[in-house]
Amino acid sequence: MVDYVSTVNPDFSLIAPELALLIAASLVMVFIPWRRMPVLAPGIIMVGFIAAFAYALGQWGHQSSGFAGMVTCDNFGVMFKLIFIVASVLSILLIGQYMKSRGIDKPEFFVLIAISAIGMMAMANTTDLVVMFIGLEVMSLPLYVLAGFNRRSLESNEAGIKYFLMGAFATAFLLMGIAFIYGASGTTNLRQVVTDFNYIAAGRGMYLYAGVAMIMIGFGFKVGAVPFHAWIPDVYHGAPTPVTAFFSVAPKAAAVAVLLRIFLYGFADVALVTKAFWILAVLTMTIGNILALRQDNVKRMLAYSSIAHAGYILVAITVGTQEAISAAIFYVVAYTFFNLGAFAIIALLETRMGAQSEFSELAGLSKSAPWIAVLLAVFMFALSGFPPTVGFFGKFYIFRAAVESNFITLAVIGVLNSFLSVYYYLRVVKTCYFDDVTEAQKPVFVPATVGLALIITTFGTIGLGLFPQQLLDFTRQAIFAFL
């Protein structure tokens, strides 16, 4: 009898954050029929997230792997875990009032967010393609349900089904890609692939190309890179706004984590990857920004802008140096704060009855709710990348890394795109401050939870903008442990 326990090494401390969340989610699920659950559920899940945060912080600086090499714990994974937890907690804070105003406040909502976060953590916390695939599914299934969560809204139904079909289609490509990499290397673990790279490339290198291309298509769908972006505006528009806030940040961060892991660690030596990413990055930035110019709906505008932001992160992936990877992580952190902040305000305005988040509804906001207007302006400045906000440094570090590695054209295209994006972000600010009010403005009620979320996001946007170097040092540590 073989001693399986010692060969497999099931070290549960490696997956402690996931387990904490799973326990919290299970508690809520078991007690759903209990009448007080709708009130208690957010609290229980929040405690789970706080415990997960603490456990994840405890993993910082440790490097180990367990479960027969399926789980790899390193600073890179921990960094992304922290991002997922912050994004999920902020999204949960936004939800209460919005859901109540639409009569869909159900405890299951929090369970779905928690399990989605478990999937993301599993994706970031491994070098094995099988675990990445299953983690991706654990992340995506709750997201499909969340998009269609408002069952009585036809838009929400439609967003759910479209997201589901595109997501499943992308999954099939991803699976095919993993199958080809398995065929090329005889393993699904990237660490093994890296070790035997030359041997594999000599014998069955063609499979590697096919597999890499398929995986690129699959994750292209997930991060919303052009030409695989068609679903993004519809899904972001149709889904309940706090859910859109979650979509625009957490799953993208997870997909970026996996892209970095696969393409900059696993297949760093596959030629053509850089060229393919170059084209993807340029297309994604440019088309995202150009389409965002024409939108009259703020949610759709932010959807296209999130495509453009994915393009900036793809620039960092194209460059692929250590400096660029730390810049990419920096950008993901920064984007989490200011994008969630922007969506928080849109969600807040939508709790007014009948709001459709059209541009015209923002007119006169500076008079009816001056503080909200100021915050919205701050987030818009951060999205367009103006200096004292963290948005500026995010772009600055990425383009600096690009120039340092002689990707001058790419950097120039990126900077031009940033200028282009200023137009539509400032249009929001202009509408708030200078447009005439057509009808009487309803007052905006700010619930305590949303207020807290706004304080955190504002603090992140401006505070990190004042001290970017500290965050950059932190992301550099995440990179040097890139196992």
Partner: protein, 194 residues
């Protein structure tokens, strides 16, 4: 031509035929049945490749459970053959939509063709009778693949929760709601004879 080759060719032909018919049908029930046909043929191919356990699972779980769930939903919704649902497109649309998958297959053909494998024993009885048996697969699944297996458990759990959240009809909810209060751009709902 050996017997193995003949079995492979026949089952491959049936699999491709079933798949093609599936996407061409107007009647969703017929589509499901053609997909089951294709899967049964694929199960034969699995067995030829030594995956005895998975061949059985493919029929029992996939054809037997998942596709029956499809049939069940189609019956529940009472969908019948509908000319509107047949695949039809303008000529240009046909061209691009045919070209993309065809190009993909051709490209992959060249990829597949570039790699030379040493001849591998395929067929009902391979070199190693243990290969692909329940025992070998299970041993691997519960040792090396324990973590993904547990994650799959979480996945099934969330699928149940998600399906219930989405499809459960609340008692207070009216049977058919065409528009929600927050849905301003109401438009007449096209009712299709379904």
């Amino acid at each position: 031509m050996t017997l193995d080759y003949a079995i492979f060719l026949i089952s491959a032909a049936v699999a491709v035929f079933g798949a093609t018919m599936m996407i061409m049908q107007r009647n969703p029930v017929a589509s499901v049945l053609y997909l089951i046909l294709s899967l049964v043929a694929q199960a034969v191919v699995y067995v030829q490749l030594g995956a005895l356990f998975l061949g059985a699972i493919l029929i029992v779980v996939y054809a037997g459970a998942i596709l029956v769930l499809f049939l069940f939903v189609i019956m529940l919704l009472n969908l019948r053959s509908n000319p509107e649902l047949s695949a039809s497109l303008p000529p240009l649309g046909w061209f691009t939509k045919v070209a993309v998958p065809v190009l993909m297959v051709v490209e992959l053909y060249f990829v597949v063709d570039r790699v030379i494998w040493p001849p591998v024993p395929t067929g009902i009885v391979g070199k190693n009778p243990d290969f692909g048996s329940v025992e070998t697969v299970a041993t691997m699944m519960f040792t090396d693949y324990m973590y993904p297996l547990q994650l799959t458990g979480v996945l099934l759990l969330v699928a149940v929760v998600g399906a219930v959240v989405i499809a459960r009809r609340e008692s207070a909810e009216p049977r058919k709601t065409t528009a929600s209060p927050d849905n301003r751009n109401e438009q007449p709902i096209d009712t299709v004879a379904g």
